[in-house]
């Protein structure tokens, strides 16, 4: 029973990724700032673009970043890796400043709905990033399709884990 639980790990500023049930992916992390600060870093494009796709780690550049972060607003993010580009887009279903952002992922047929929540705990923020897929099949499609669909930042890990190096 000494296995690390999500909340325990999150309290140590660790990034925790869990699959829940058949259709959900949940990522948690604690940030040492109030929700208003963390929310600003998520909702202001000039701040968001500084961290969403860290090029030094992922090898992918965020080429453009249009975000109208309010309920009913739209976003469009264009990424580049090598000579390839890919655009991710969707709309914000719900935006409650400093509390919650919910958006769609419309670039695919069965995209997930993403919910990010900001909860204050003793001056810090527990951030939960939650993806809900429309069906079990959609989540599994995302998993099996990841080798082809995800950009090259995953290649190294994929090689390590699959042994096809």
């Amino acid at each position: 029973m000494d296995q690390q639980t999500g909340s325990h790990a999150a309290a140590q500023n660790r990034t925790v990724v869990e699959r829940k049930g058949d259709r959900e992916l949940v990522v948690t992390r604690v940030f040492d700032a109030l929700p208003s600060t963390v929310f600003a870093a998520w909702s202001r494009p000039e701040l968001f673009r500084q961290w969403w796709m860290p090029k030094s780690v992922t090898g992918v550049s965020l080429l453009s970043c249009d975000m109208d972060v309010r309920t009913g607003g739209k976003y469009s993010l264009e990424f580049g890796a090598g000579d390839q580009t890919m655009t991710f887009y969707g709309k914000y279903l719900e935006v409650i400043p400093n509390v919650r952002i919910v958006w769609t992922n419309d670039e695919g047929d069965e995209g997930a709905v993403t919910t990010v929540t900001f909860e204050e705990h003793g001056g810090k923020t527990l951030l939960t990033f939650h993806e809900l897929y429309p069906s079990r099949e959609a989540l599994e499609e995302a998993m099996t399709g990841s080798a082809a669909g995800l950009p090259e930042q995953m290649d190294q890990l994929e090689e390590l884990l699959s042994g096809k190096a």
Binding site: T15, E18, T37, L157, L160, L161, G163
Partner: protein, 119 residues
């Protein structure tokens, strides 16, 4: 709140949480190996290596076969690996992302502090 995580995923997480075990998978990706040679390669006791291989075997990453006195290990073929791989890939991406976000937040807080000190 009850959290539902499939048992197989728990095993995968546990299997991949250890650097030696990730190294074993990497090594077996290039060539099959006996437990003895893995123990030598990773400089640990035979007993220690057997435990690591058993964890990987339960999670479906590795298969073993005993012929005579030699137990040979090779990569498993299960679909589990793809699922664990996907989760681990997400974890890696979000860790990098959130480390960068930590930096942005640190700068924002410094600016806020500077602002309140000056004004």
């Amino acid at each position: 709140m009850v959290q539902y995580v499939t048992p197989s995923l728990d095993l995968s997480f546990a299997a991949l949480s250890d650097a030696t075990r990730r190294g074993i998978i990497d090594h077996l990706g290039r060539a099959d190996a006996s437990i003895t040679s893995l123990a030598e390669k990773f400089r640990m006791t035979l007993t220690g290596m057997k435990k690591h291989v058993a964890v990987l075997e339960r999670a479906g990453f590795v298969m073993t076969e005993k012929v005579g006195r030699v137990r040979t290990c090779r990569l498993g073929q299960g679909g589990l690996a793809a699922e664990a791989e996907w989760i681990e890939a997400h974890r890696k991406l979000f860790e990098a992302r959130f480390d960068a976000l930590d930096q942005v937040i640190l700068e924002m807080k410094q600016e806020q502090d500077d602002g309140s000190a000056n004004g």
